[in-house]
């Protein structure tokens, strides 16, 4: 699965909007993840997961920033996320099923915040993009 030129343009353009609320979206995405899929909390026994906690906000920012890195290097996502890919494979070892859950929650946040911009086309491009990001992050698992 690779991103077409049109999809890349749509993704980059949508990122322009997302980046204006990056931290809030990151935090909200994690809140949505932990509310809808409580089993994902098992990866964060060391965190204070109350909504608005400093750790949640910091981690949310981190996650969205990494997505941003992938957007900025959209022509070479494996290169941009090489270190993160290793981290997930050898240290974090988050089960691959969870990337879909996180991606879904990110899309829900974006859809809620940018109703006019999150067209069917943008939805499709971003769903595909996050799927590519997830593949890169799980590429070295075995």
């Amino acid at each position: 699965m690779s991103l077409t030129k049109t999809e890349r343009a749509v993704i980059v353009s949508m990122w322009g909007k997302i980046s204006t609320q990056a931290d809030a979206i990151g935090t909200e995405t994690l809140e949505r993840l932990f509310s809808s899929y409580p089993q994902t909390k098992t990866y964060f026994p060391h965190f204070d997961l109350h909504p608005g906690s400093a750790q949640l906000r910091a981690h949310g920012s981190k996650v969205v920033a990494a997505v941003g890195d992938a957007v900025k290097s959209i022509d070479d996502i494996p290169g941009a996320l090489a270190k993160l890919s290793e981290l997930h494979a050898y240290v974090l070892r988050v089960d691959p099923v969870n990337f879909k859950l996180l991606s879904h929650c990110l899309l829900v946040s974006v859809a809620a915040r940018f109703p006019a911009d999150f067209t069917a086309e943008a939805h499709a491009a971003w769903d595909k993009f996050l799927s590519v990001v997830s593949s890169v992050l799980t590429e070295k698992y075995r």
Partner: protein, 147 residues
């Protein structure tokens, strides 16, 4: 079997009462076909599905989306017995329509996104969580009679 608290039922019903079923149904089915193009395999006779705008504007997609979401409304009225509510539809989807149950999950999540798109801030993490339970319950119920 999925169990809903009184609070979850209230949250779900309250949002559902504000949903324009015709509009949301068309939007959800349309987005399913756009975001996951392989799902178009079930709709060969729907005419022009050649682009996102063609799909979203397609009258057959809108009509069928409305039908699907209207049926979904039955789930909201019967959250304590989704399997019973969808027993016949489950048989239909298996025996006549031959739909892989994975598609129910895809549509459920697309519906969640459509609701988020429409309701914005009101679609809080807690509201989403209740709705994720509903769509998961419906998906399970629709797959229940498969054999």
């Amino acid at each position: 079997m999925v169990h809903f608290t009184a609070e979850e039922k209230a949250v779900v019903t309250s949002l559902w009462n504000k949903v324009n079923v015709e509009e949301a149904g068309g939007e959800a089915l349309g987005r399913l076909l756009v975001v996951y193009p392989w799902t178009q395999r079930f709709f060969d006779n729907f005419g022009n599905l050649s682009s996102a705008s063609a799909i979203m504007g397609n009258p057959k997609v809108k009509a069928h989306g409305k039908k699907v979401l209207t049926s979904f409304g039955e789930a909201i009225k019967n959250m304590d017995d989704l399997k019973g509510t969808f027993a016949k539809l489950s048989e239909l989807h298996c025996d006549r329509l031959h739909v892989d149950p994975e598609n129910f999950k895809l549509l459920g999540n697309v519906l969640i996104i459509v609701l988020a798109n429409h309701f914005g801030k009101e679609f809080t993490p807690l509201v989403q969580a209740a709705w994720q339970k509903v769509v998961a319950g419906v998906a399970t119920a629709l797959a229940y009679k498969y054999h």
